[in-house]
Symmetry: C2
Subunit: 214 residues, 2 copies
Amino acid sequence: MTIVGIVERKEREKEELRRKIMTAARKLFVEQGIENTSIRKIAEAIEYSPTVIYLHFPDKESLLQEICREDFAALHAAEASIGRIDDPVQKIRAIGMAYMKFGVEHPEQYQLMFMRRHAPPTADDLKERGDPTCDGYAILEHAVQDALQQGRIRPEYRDLSLICQTLWAGVHGTVAIEITMKSNPWIQLEDFEVRARTMLDVLIRGMCNNEPSS
Amino acid sequence: MTIVGIVERKEREKEELRRKIMTAARKLFVEQGIENTSIRKIAEAIEYSPTVIYLHFPDKESLLQEICREDFAALHAAEASIGRIDDPVQKIRAIGMAYMKFGVEHPEQYQLMFMRRHAPPTADDLKERGDPTCDGYAILEHAVQDALQQGRIRPEYRDLSLICQTLWAGVHGTVAIEITMKSNPWIQLEDFEVRARTMLDVLIRGMCNNEPSS
DNA sequence: TCACTTGAAAAACGGTGTTAAGTTAAATAG
DNA sequence: CTATTTAACTTAACACCGTTTTTCAAGTGA
């Protein structure tokens, strides 16, 4: 006769192993880079055979996406941790700064999230759960919405998502260049802090009505 | 007795094969994507054994970089083909547009050039030839220099390379997002043309002194 | 005890970049 | 003309990779 708890213990163990895989994988990503991290190395790190990974994830891409999902949550948390800022333009600035800071402090995760072509939508995945990226994106959208409503945005920009995507492109470009070109001997980049601040200044000045500059 | 021409013919043939490898490789990159292009596939395309490629390039990375170098020349040509524009700010706008156009029209090449971490500098390569990227970059630098001298840049921006890198980050972000996120079902991007134009407007308005907007 | 499910591992498949060892044809020297 | 060297090229192999199939052993239910 089977004790009731036994199946629960099994599920718990299974979940534990899944977690073990994901944390080991992320650790390897961060320490050795994404393309140097193989299924076999992950398996070795957790002291299991490579095949057990396939009992928890259909393929490597899914494992990546699952890690990605958690990292999106981390980015969301970073943005959400910004205290209440009443001035929506200052809020936008703070969000942009938090975004870029996250990017350079977690370059491997950032590459996973924003610098890889994503796999086509598997239809299942489409309905299963909401867009993982939109949490963080929604925070920006909200701030921009506020700015729009308070008449802080220049009149020629009325399209919310166009504004957001332009801001996003600016900060993304700054982070992406830092990650990609940091080790490039041909280009000597200015200090990242300075570039980040300059980008935000330029974007905000270019999009917003003239206000007392920060 | 050795005919003089014979060694030259050999060199010519060797150079021909080298060219054949590079054009086949680029063709495969463009048609099937970078990560789907293997040494073996390139070899098959030119109807030689895989090893012959290693007689012309020390490794795959070097082949990539060599192709990269040619593509930088193409980008340079695209920027250089811009006609003479006297207004330096308009010139900057045109350069930015040409850059972004090149990026979306040659996404695989663009990824090769600007969206991969480059290998560490092999010391030999350092002295051998100049920076391949600086040709295109120099054009932008020149235009910004003009704008600076003509007092078209806001007084808070005096550092030439900081200005250039900020502009670059903006247009790069726009292109990179287009390439990476085009196939992402979660995000529906605005029309690329619109985003590109908006980015340039915002950057220029944010950096330049107020002038009659274009 | 015996059949059956289940979790994990071993082995294998087809692919990758790369290297070492052969082969073969051309160019040279005597 | 013939022998030898050289160069171009291929074949075979190595060590990886992601993934699938097969095998195995331990636990479960009757």
